[in-house]
Amino acid sequence: MNWLKESLNDLSDFTAGRPYLGYATEVVDTIEAIIFAPTERSQERPFLRDFIDVKRYMALVVIGIVPATLASIYFYGWRALAMILVSYVAGGIAEVGFTLARKEEITEGFLVTGILFPLILPPTTPLWIVAVGIIVGVILGKEVFGGTGYNIFNPALVGRVFLTVTFPVAMSSNWVEPLTGGWAGLTKYGIDTVTSATPLGQFANEGTLVGLKEVFLGTIPGSLGESSALLLIIGGLFLIVTKIADWRIPLSYLGSVMAFSYLGTFLWPNQVAPPVFQLLAGGLLFGALFMATDPVTAPTTKGAKWVYGLFLGVMTVSIRAFSGYPEGVMFSILLINMFSPLMDDMVMTHRYGPVQKPYK
């Protein structure tokens, strides 16, 4: 592989500082960084460094989502893969364009956004809408704040919310029944549109409950990646075991949803679905395991993580029961994201006392 490294180095040297080609240097360097681990050693303490890096951190999230992705191809055909590719290409162009314009390094956070975003869309979403959504998500959800690490909101969810308010028809009424049995979607490109309702939508509109077994296995209409509770749990456990996702957030989020929906079924039995159904149906597991645990937008201190999950649960149950939308995970995560710095600050105030302003 040395020839490759050398030729990349030559290319990087060749383009550096030249008019019009200057931008290519960053891209070449990034390609080199992706393929080869850096051989630099630390120049200041500590002189030993942990083997983990952001690239691997993000790659592990993608690995965690692989089971759900495979399931989406099985249930909805190869079009699911096309949506993911469109998301990566369109969002990647926006991401690279921005970092080049700002003369910054290309960061790895997009690896995750690019795959999480298509998985929270309805399976029939037109490909151009996928592209619009991911571009808006990258620009308005991340780049306006300064890039990965500085964003307040989960970029994938920003893109999803933008699509929800912009294309309400495509985003809220075009659900399809997944394919099951035999090779199912593996032999097909996509599903001819057969409009159907998600389990949560059915409960909100008609008050009927879908069987828990179907919901658990994922043979129900829903977003691309969210249907199969089983595979999501497998992926989520992987993230928790590898310490990429903190177990506190999913636990308190899911626990709080369980507790409040249990309470709600007593008070408003027609509006609040029963706990286990709430847990498995819709995007809750996906949101709790892959979206709420996004380290950048979630609180970082342990106490704040518990509070964060608690509020997420309250919001989700309330939106599902009392708003016009049958699903509330996306909105609650975005809303509570806004408060995570505040929650961290409350923990710090508890631990260290308030900020002491010098006398003037």
Binding site: P126, I129, V144, F162, V165, T166, F167, A170
Partner: protein, 199 residues
Amino acid sequence: MNNTTEIFVNGLWRDNPVFRQILGLCITLAITNRVVNGVTMGVAVFFVLVASSFIVSVIGEYVPRRVRIPVYMLIIATFVTLVYMFLRAYFTGLSQALGAYVGLIITNCIILGRLESFSSENGPWESVVDAAGISAGFAAALIAMSVVRELLGFGTLFGINVLGSGWTPWVSMILAPGGFLVLGLLVWIERSISPVEEG
């Protein structure tokens, strides 16, 4: 560049009320989902601002300091009501689309601010040129925003379909959130072209 041009360009670009001073947002966000609305509102504000600037610059020195704001308000309100009645009488459809926002021109801080900061201290000619520049800047901002919003939100411009019948409307662009997004993006672009000098 002579003085007159400078005053005009200042209002149109460097002191653009929407993009630079971030004023008049209520109207800007509410009515810019169609270009026709933007143009009408631009013309209405142009008329009100130029006329009241002229009058204020003429009578300014006779008005006691302590009652100047009520006097300005009266003058503005008179012209706004004129515009409102005129629109209702001769452009019923437009007046319905603009709704209460024509009346709200009265409280638009662009106008009061200009009267207070410029017209009351300058001669009639400069005041009219400044008013024209500012309101041209306002109109330009409204049109820029409404072009984006109508194009994406309806696929049309001035009500004429330009993006083909297969266009899926971007509903959020028609709503206030889309207004905020477009405003933010345009402010961003404007400031990237000519950065704000601080200090």
